[in-house]
């Protein structure tokens, strides 16, 4: 078996952790603003699941960093609160604004269906820690898929207005979905070593699941769009900076603050 470069592994753990962290933060923004109190709670629950995943990935990244430098790596808080936009490695999809409820549902639907397929593979990773995190997250993700799928059906099959909004949400975010299935040299090395799943292989299954649900909901599959890429390299949309400003404010203003 190929030996794994620790620097690759560190970077990969950051990618996984950042994606969960940013989406978890996005969902937390609904708290107090969701259409119903019940949905406030639902969004917070989903957000907390994702932030839980992020904590595990980032803690692991910090451990690997420690092994690389032969000292103490950064901990989860340092990684989350003290890195800038260019150092974040999340997918562009998850940093997109919440929009209306339908946009949030579209984002969750695209992402959770992908994350489920991806983590099912990651659960058999040759890296025991990544595999364990994926196995722990899978039951949560199963619920996220169910929640998002049912909302797509409900809005698509609801009123004229709900259908229009759901369709617009799906179209507006579809350009960010290609990135989920891309890989770069680093990921290709990890795929060869059995650490990372080959996301490209998951794309046809993902596409089929998305289309099945949209058909059932009476919605159109968004036409292909030129993909927008860059999250892996730290090339983000303008939205991530605002997220980090809010998320990191306390640690930036009062370094080392605890509560």
């Amino acid at each position: 078996m190929t030996t794994v470069d620790k620097n690759d592994l560190f970077e990969y753990a950051l990618r996984l952790g950042d994606t969960s962290l940013v989406l978890g933060h996005r969902l937390s923004e609904w708290c107090g603003h969701a259409p119903e109190m019940e949905l406030d709670m639902a969004m917070s629950n989903l957000g907390l699941d994702l932030i839980g995943q992020a904590r595990l990935f980032l803690t692991y990244a910090g451990e690997i960093e420690g092994q690389i430098t032969g000292g103490q790596g950064r901990d989860e808080d340092q990684l989350a609160y003290l890195r800038d936009v260019l150092d974040y490695r999340n997918f562009l999809l998850v940093e997109q604004p919440n929009g209306d409820w339908a946009v949030t549902i579209a984002r969750q639907f695209y992402f959770s269906v992908f994350q489920q397929l991806y983590f099912q593979q990651l659960a058999t990773s040759s890296d025991e820690q990544l595999a364990a995190i994926a196995r722990k997250a899978l039951p949560e993700i199963e619920y996220h898929v169910r929640f998002a799928t049912e909302w797509v059906l409900r809005l698509g099959d609801g009123t004229e207005e709900s259908k229009r909004r759901m369709q617009e949400g799906l179209v507006s975010l579809s350009r960010f979905t290609a990135e989920l299935f891309e890989s770069d040299d680093l990921e290709n090395r990890l795929i060869a070593a059995g650490v990372a799943p080959d996301a490209a292989l998951l794309r046809p299954i993902w596409q089929e699941r998305i289309e099945d649900t949209l058909r059932e909901a009476g919605l159109e599959t968004p036409p292909p769009h030129r993909p927008v890429l860059g999250g892996r390299k730290g090339h983000h949309t303008e939205h991530l900076g605002y997220i980090l400003t809010e998320m990191q404010y306390l640690q930036r203003a009062y370094p080392g603050a605890k509560w």
Binding site: E36, M41, A42, N45, E150
Partner: protein, 94 residues
């Protein structure tokens, strides 16, 4: 104008073998949403292993003003409590 979603009553079974108990209520537009909202509101701290939701409108309730007629007559019939039996000491699980 905001229209309120219908109300649903939530019942939780805390563990297998026990009965479902009333836990509270949720608003939801349909049965599936009611189940999910109940999951998100009432089982966050491992409260249960099974959920029921029932449209609140389907619950038939007794009239509080008839409470006397309905429940008072049982008051002086303490012999209905199984407390007048001697339990043999070698009987377990009672």
């Amino acid at each position: 104008m905001k229209q309120e979603w219908p109300l649903w009553e939530v019942f939780i079974r805390s563990k297998n073998g026990l009965a479902h108990r009333h836990a509270g209520s949720v608003h939801a537009a349909d049965a599936q949403m009611a189940l999910e909202n109940a999951r998100d509101l009432y089982t966050r701290r491992q409260e249960g292993v099974s959920l029921w939701v029932v449209p609140s409108a389907q619950i038939v309730a007794s009239d509080p003003s008839e409470a006397e007629a309905l429940f008072e007559p049982a008051k002086d019939k303490i012999y209905r409590h199984p407390t007048f039996y001697d339990i043999p000491s070698n009987v377990k699980y009672i």
